[in-house]
Amino acid sequence: MAKRECGVVREMSDNKFKSSVLGASENKSFAMALPAVLWQGIFLYVPVVFIIGISFLKGLDGSVFKNITLGNYDTLMNSSYFITIYRSVVLAFSTALMCLILAYPTAYFLAIKVKKYKNLLFFLLILPFWINFLVKAYSWFFILDHNGFVNSFLIKIGLISTPFHILNTPIAVYIVMVFCYLPFMILPLYNSMAKIDKFLLEASSDLGATAGQTLWHITIPLSMAGITSGFFLVLIPSFGEFVIPTLLGGGKTMYVGSMISYFFLETKNVFLGSAFTCLSGLALIFVALSIYFVFNKIGKKNMGVK
């Protein structure tokens, strides 16, 4: 009898065991678990469906069926709005790429090379991650302004005589985007590299691989998970970025984020705005999936060494 019971317990999953022992079994009180799920449903999933639905309407008066139209999408396709999506894709992709290029050596150094003061260096690296985004963007005013730090410095050492105008240009937007999103790339990279067994790297060099071969065949494949998640952590929020183009781009060049807020908050054209949101969402999903496939291919390719 006791033996059978033991078997039953083992057959149950861990979670089932915990809840059945504690009397929180299915029929009794799963209602207590519902608020979290409902909250998620009401404030996220229902609205998403709602926005998709509304993007096919031209108004709300009269019956719903009379208002169904593809006109919103037609307007978007035949206008300059469409180019903002393209521009945001380019900005998001190039930001993610630059962050990867800058973050990979940094994370490698911190996770694998450095031995002294590792905790302090790591703490200093995660700190900017948590500084208010607005503050981070605004701090660049003091650096990039034509009376600012960079220009004063360059004039002082005599490299230039008249100040550069970097502020309110796409270059400023790009620099600050990379600055703000760099920690999003470094942390997942660091996490995946910290898990790499150091003996593998030693073995590789003992067996005659050059540093480059070790990097390409051992370190990069083993940190592929970090590369992928870091890339998406940068790509997705920077696609919808609003603050940086508004503050440092002078609001002249429109990106997806500024476009959506223009539709919803300024013109209050919810129908066109919803269609634009859906269209840019689709573009983002498409880009993300293609990048995911490429990363998957690279990961598999150099995992199978020769």
Partner: protein, 260 residues
Amino acid sequence: MELRRKASSFILPSFVGLIYLFLYAPIIVFIIFSFNKNPYSLKWHGFTFSWYRDLFASSEVAEALTNSLIVAFSAVFLSVTMAVFYVFYGLGSFLNRLTILFYGSLIAPEIVLATCLLSVFSFLNMPLGIPSLIAGHTLLGLAYVVPIIKSSYEEIDNRLIEASMDLGATESQTFYKIIVPILLPAIMSGALLIMIISLDDFFISFFCSGPETLTLPMYIFSQVRTGATPIVNAISTLLMVVSSLLILLLTSFKIKTRFF
């Protein structure tokens, strides 16, 4: 050969040094300018504490701070409570499979979440303000705190629970004396994370705070847009000090969150 090796062992550290410089130089310059005497210049005019004094005297800042703290604490309380209940009562049942739903608000760009919330509130004719902000921040908070508490709950050794029941504890005693203490570090770090995220959030505040409710990020944004005085630098410096203390606390819990 020796020289080359020496050179290459020097390249990586100096590259990393430049990255640290890139990450910190703007912030340090920014902090220095919170002590600048001249309010409308980007040149240094001398040291003063007056912006910090103005900051504490400003009723606008006080209002924004109060609103932000109300929203942050409510979001922390709501999402932590709901997450603990979800994990404790839901994991044994079919609801376990719905955990993936919580990742939705992490995957979607925040601007999409904000427009969704805005559309719900305006469609239901509910006034925008503190309630809509709490709804949005709790949505974000759940996405962070459910995975943290879940993984910590799954790590609890079943033998502890068995032992407690064998030794005659009731179910609720086991819950409060065994499970909750074990989950406490996860709960605390989740709460801190939500606190920081809520104070930092811009999009949901921008879309859903309505015309009358002023929050801290909105205050900073409107100031920066119209030409800010060093008060903004001062308040941001204080915010940075607070959030770095919170991070120090958070790392001391040694709980694996999504980003550490």
